[in-house]
Symmetry: C2
Subunit: 345 residues, 2 copies
């Protein structure tokens, strides 16, 4: 096909947000689609992954990855279909995962293929939604965070915050598969019901149920304390978990969504000396470090999806233009499962 | 000798201090010394170890060790001489280390010998002062914290706070012996000079030199960042260190002396998300967990003392009755080296 007749709608970062991002922080552009040069690939975006980490990419300054530049297309991972290729590794019609950006078409030059992580994916292992969820970055984050840093042993108690979210659902279900007790923390009764009844966690604590809900819930549902706490939220919930850890406990610092929109300094965990009393460790992780081992983890997780031990729930929002509002759902806790922006069929 | 003619001066915990401990928090008692029963030992206290951890033992509530009860003799480790023994493992004249308490004589019944850690020490390996310092709890804390949790590799940069204190001097000197760059943080120019000129650290930052002194000092003296941070102080200095850690860094949480006298909540490390960005870990340690391996560590450290690569500086205060004021020195930073209370010759 000729791509020169196509136009590409894009969403660019207009300015760095103060606090929560609003529609004013984005710029909407339309450009003609260019043909790939030798070695390059043109990908039509099908679905994009919306993740809490995106808020961090919008900030200036040092992080585990460079910030998105002002005026650049917003960074996003996603699944697309190859519509033009001058690279022998990709054929028209291939379904690929990569950092496509918030746009309808991603032109990936040869020198960017590796950096964007562009790779064919096998839809026999899972749906596009599952490839953005349990088989994608959130699933890999949950897998390597729990397995490599948490080192779960059968009979241990694993607590995960953001339990109904993409990472959280993987962590809790995988903890159960590995023989642990899984306790979730999520916002609202509907999410908690989903986490227990659909995903099979042993219990789930509704942090919105009252100021002491998390503390009392952890006391009730973790009678032997917390051996592994997988933290996606930070703030008061991290402190409540620190107060209940066991000797030798492991805390995985995966994110701190309660703090990402702060305009004031981050709230540090005032109970961190529990690490001392309990000879416990708190460790940060970034999923990209485990890229070499994704294929093995994907094969394992795909098997759990097929035998029904792992469920994958996506919250699908449609239309590129809804991106600004869709992203906001992550921070208000409105999303229910992995948030996916469907851009095309 | 008959012990019945002896009287035993003791310092007991009168009440739980609010903030810094004062003389009013202590009760001074004198009791006749009793003879040991079958299996017991009577020890005359020679020197006691004064440690920041003592402040924690005075608080109510859960910690890594039970609090000292109101009315009980204050807990303290120390070196003494056996003056009466009905236990075949100890002979009159033996020099022992154990939890003797802040008193002139410790009567240790058979069933308490293990719990008090009573053990003969070999003065050919080091002086009494050294046995309370580099060869004692502080030295063991520094040794196992640095070696087991820090896992230093040659060429790495090790930063330690409380560098002129008992644990800090061990950590920095051991880091140098292991081929690392050692940077201390201490209060005042005199301590910093001692740390660099006497102990051989590569640099030492005077945290009292100004509000930005630690941040700027770490920038200047850790050009490749901090691979290992051994934290004895918590608070702002922990945050400054977190801002400079390298990828894969290890932070040993050994204490938080800046926070022990707090009457407000502990100040949590607001830069803890640096653990995430840097895939770093923060881990607590309690020296007693390594008791099985003390003898090997003592042999190693004694060799360093003898070949001059390790120096041991003690700040000796004399007289049991000076205990309340002597303890205070630890929190005002007045002590210069390991604080030892000499009770008898």
């Amino acid at each position: 096909m000729s791509s020169t007749t196509l136009s590409n709608r894009q969403i660019r970062l207009a300015k760095r947000p103060q606090g929560a991002a609003t529609r004013d922080d984005w710029q909407f552009t339309t450009e003609p689609v260019a043909d790939p040069a030798e070695g390059g690939v043109l990908v039509k975006t099908l679905s994009l992954s919306l993740d809490p980490a995106m808020r961090g990419w919008m900030n200036e300054g040092k992080s585990y990855i460079a910030p998105v530049e002002i005026g650049a297309v917003m960074r996003a991972g996603g699944v697309g279909r190859v519509v033009a290729s001058r690279n022998p590794a990709f054929a028209v019609g291939d379904i690929v995962y990569g950092t496509l950006g918030v746009q309808e078409y991603a032109l990936v030059p040869q020198e960017e293929i590796k950096r964007s992580g562009l790779a064919k994916i096998d839809l026999s292992l899972g749906t596009i939604g599952q490839w953005l969820n349990v088989l994608g970055m959130p699933g890999m984050t949950g897998y390597f965070g729990l397995m490599d840093i948490g080192e779960p042993k059968p009979g241990e108690t694993v607590v995960v915050s953001g339990a109904a979210g993409a990472v959280g659902q993987t962590v809790g279900q995988l903890a159960k598969i590995k023989g642990c007790r899984a306790v979730g923390i999520a916002g609202g009764q509907a999410k908690c019901d989903f986490v227990v009844k659909e995903l099979g966690f042993d219990a789930c604590i509704d942090y919105k149920a009252g100021p002491a809900a998390v503390r009392e819930g952890l006391k009730a549902h973790c009678p032997k304390g917390i051996d592994i706490y997988f933290d996606n939220v930070g703030g008061d919930i991290l402190d409540a978990a620190l107060a209940k850890i066991t000797r030798g406990a492991r805390i995985i610092i995966c994110g701190a969504i309660s703090q990402y929109n702060n305009t004031t300094p981050i709230q540090g965990p005032k109970n961190y000396l529990s690490l001392l009393m309990n000879r416990a460790r708190m460790q940060g992780m970034v999923v990209f470090d485990y890229a070499d081992r994704y294929p093995l983890a994907i094969a394992e997780m795909s098997a759990y999806l097929k035998d029904g031990r792992m469920k994958s729930r996506e919250d699908v929002v449609e239309g590129l233009e809804t991106f600004p509002e869709a992203l906001t759902k992550l921070f208000t806790g409105e999303n229910f499962g992995k948030l996916v922006l469907k851009v095309a069929d």
